[in-house]
Symmetry: C2
Subunit: 455 residues, 2 copies
């Protein structure tokens, strides 16, 4: 029996207790809730692991990055995670409270269990197990755990620039990743970028009786009319110039996509939808998911939204839109295209407030970290991972990895397609958690061997 | 000195105290808050006035109508008012709490003071004053005070049918009405109708990570695309067939509109808007306000609407739309046209939930009640009232008045254009309140003389 597997078996109860304690600690960066307390919790746990820990700060402020080094040797692996989580609302749709981790049918439910506290704890437990079994690590692991990922990592670029010399490694294992619909381990070679924008319109100086809407402008209508020019009902983006920056995948890239096992019927059933947008299927849906940008209404608020009726003409309207960006579409460019698009159509009254932003990021398929992950996955899961060109989601990989000249890979974590990420009833399967620990254990052994000759 | 004026002068402090006590009693029908308590309060006050009071009920339920008769004689005047108010939110925009009536600069601030508690109390105070001065009333006054006006009077039709024999009178003085921008008293010969509709769309079975919006349908977008087909950015309604029912005003009607003093610049300044919709001015704006229907977004909610960012693909979206109806456009017709319009464009997934509804109503300009109101206004205000064809707002006049064959008039109440109706900081000017009492006193004397020969 694999000795790391045996160690995990012996320590399951304590490991689960520790993960639950971490999940019980709220850490909602969007609401600045519990952030400092949680950073202290992570520091303490890394110190107990034996890591040398510092709290990294930058002049611009923001919560600290918990940075811990453990192990020795010429090879180094950076591990990126975050200790903050998404807001838990709508609360009434949770079967059990978001910050009371609950085990049901082999699944652990809590806000942040899949994104990203489970992932971080599995890595800590893996290092503990490796040390217990082998006495020492064959490389240096650098834990970099930030507290602002869910609000777009506004200071990560400054952390990366200021601490470049201590952070630079032979590769960076990003957060997230896990199994696909058919329980195959997956690897993602990058992430889409994002530009989140709030749009605001104003009408009269206060809410008015709706009868006056015959002659008084309505800010909710202004947003509806503006939004309608962003995307057609068959989900084609029409923001001026935006699609000019989008390249079509090459034949080689289409071949990679075609090799992805895409359990689309199972996905639609899981999500409770009769069809994908535009009725897309198979490769066409994958191309849209991985090679096209998005324009998504994440929230819309105007006027009276309670029970019953209120005949009111709203004074204000607000919509939150996120644009997921493929390579070539940078956040700065997106903000400019959007503003010009609105102005050109007379929507000069609509205010655009850029919020969180991330550059798109991608890593070559032949990087040593990719080979090491593939070998470790094969050893633990019995099959090589499915390789995706990038994640449909976004994360701050670019400033920490590609910008510093480092490969970054998301992959083979503790998640599965039913995790309800960013939604009520977020969960992981506990069996995936135990396997995730073993995967990191195997990667610790594989990675130093693959990077020989590099650097 | 007019003896009623003198009586009011002597009793101002007590009258104001009573009005404040009424306003302190919350009565939000949309939230079923304080409705029974307030009906009991009105009953007690009418009994103290000397009226014979019954609580009218209908089988279908709903709060009682407080019905009080006072006075004798062959001539009868029905007084329609309501004791419920609009929800007070957004609370943070009130300078003083909505249910703590506060006097500032000669204005009394409270939810419901303008719509419609001030109006009702002024009529009660007027009857008290008339009785104190003259000993007896020259006609029978029937107070009809309902508790569901702000949610569309869902049972008024049943009340009217069931109590037709006791309600039928020589005319009905409706709620509301007051002075215009230039402080001239006004009369309105009817009301627009209304159909309030909630539209709902659903996407996946729960909120999802917004990255998946590349392929998963978004209910907020569905509503945006559907709404966009209802009205163009220059505010022309495009719901199929709807404008076919709208007749243009005749030359005689245009002449009436042209005689309305329309202080449009003052209105725009009061409301804080640079221009009316479509840049309309003068008679064109009046025609749109009084002779055209509306299609108004009163509320829109989807996804994350709190502070900061949340990258979520919403599972649900909801919009509240009100349609103000001119004669020929009934609520039933409106619901049918809307549903057909949506279905014809493939929006079969969007649910339409009809909520409150009112028929449009109008009364001929030569009705005795119109003449009596004009004469009473001239006596109290020193000028004949400005006559409007109908109110841009809606109310349940039709089932109680025109349906029973009774004239109904809104007019010469306690309001002015700055009342912030249905909005934060609702208020009336106290001076208007005292004059409003005198107007009702004069009308009590005028009305029986004008209806001689009728009936």
């Amino acid at each position: 029996m694999n000795p790391i597997h045996a160690y995990v078996e012996t320590n399951k109860e304590r490991f689960l207790g520790e993960l639950k304690a971490f999940l019980r600690q709220p850490s909602v960066s969007a609401q600045n809730l519990g952030i400092r307390e949680t950073s202290a919790w992570v520091r303490t746990r890394l110190e107990r692991l034996g890591a040398k820990v510092q709290m990294l700060e930058v002049d611009a402020g923001g919560p600290p990055v918990v940075y811990g080094e453990i192990g020795e040797g010429p090879r180094t692996l950076l591990s990126y995670n975050h200790y903050d989580v998404q807001p838990p609302d709508p609360l009434d749709l949770w079967q059990t409270p978001p910050f009371e981790p609950t085990l049901r049918d082999g699944k652990l439910y809590a806000r942040g269990v899949a994104d990203d506290k489970g992932d971080l704890m599995a890595r800590i437990h893996a290092v503990e197990a490796y040390l217990a079994v082998h006495g020492r690590l064959p490389l240096k692991i650098k834990f970099f755990v930030e507290g602002e990922e869910e609000i777009g990592s506004p200071h990560l670029d400054q952390f990366a620039q200021r601490y470049r010399d201590i952070l630079l490694s032979d590769g960076c294992l990003w957060e997230a990743g896990g199994k696909d619909e058919a329980d195959r381990p997956t690897l993602h070679l990058g992430l889409k970028g994002i530009q989140y924008v709030e749009l605001r319109a104003r009408g009269a100086k206060s809410d008015m009786h709706s009868s006056l809407a015959a002659i008084v402008p309505n800010p909710a209508w202004r947003l509806v009319w503006a939004l309608n020019t962003f995307k057609t009902p068959d989900d084609r983006i029409t923001v001026d110039g935006m699609m000019d920056y989008v390249r079509k995948p090459s034949q080689a890239e289409l071949d990679l996509l075609a090799a992805i096992p895409f359990e689309e019927e199972k996905m639609r059933a899981n999500w409770g939808i009769p069809a994908f947008v535009r009725g897309l299927k198979g490769l066409d849906a994958l191309v849209k998911l991985y090679y096209e940008p998005t324009c998504t209404i994440c929230g819309f608020r105007s006027g009276y939204i309670g029970e019953g009726t209120k005949t009111v003409l709203p004074a204000e309207a607000m919509v939150k839109v996120d644009f997921r960006l493929v390579p070539n579409l940078t956040p700065e460019l997106m903000v400019r295209l959007l503003r010009e698009h609105l102005d050109r159509r007379g929507f000069t009254d609509i205010e655009t407030i850029p919020q969180s932003a991330e550059h798109p990021a991608s890593t070559p398929v032949d990087a040593p970290l990719v080979h090491a992950c593939a070998a470790a996955a094969e050893a633990v899961y019995g099959s090589r991972p499915v390789i995706y060109p990038l994640m449909a989601g976004s994360g701050p990989m670019y400033p920490l990895c590609q910008q510093l000249g480092m490969a970054g890979v998301c992959g083979v974590g503790v998640t599965y397609p039913g995790i309800n990420i960013h939604a009520p009833n977020e969960n992981i399967r506990l069996a995936d958690y135990w396997q995730g620990i073993e995967f990191i254990g195997a990667l610790i052994a594989e990675f130093p061997r693959r990077v020989v000759g590099m650097r």
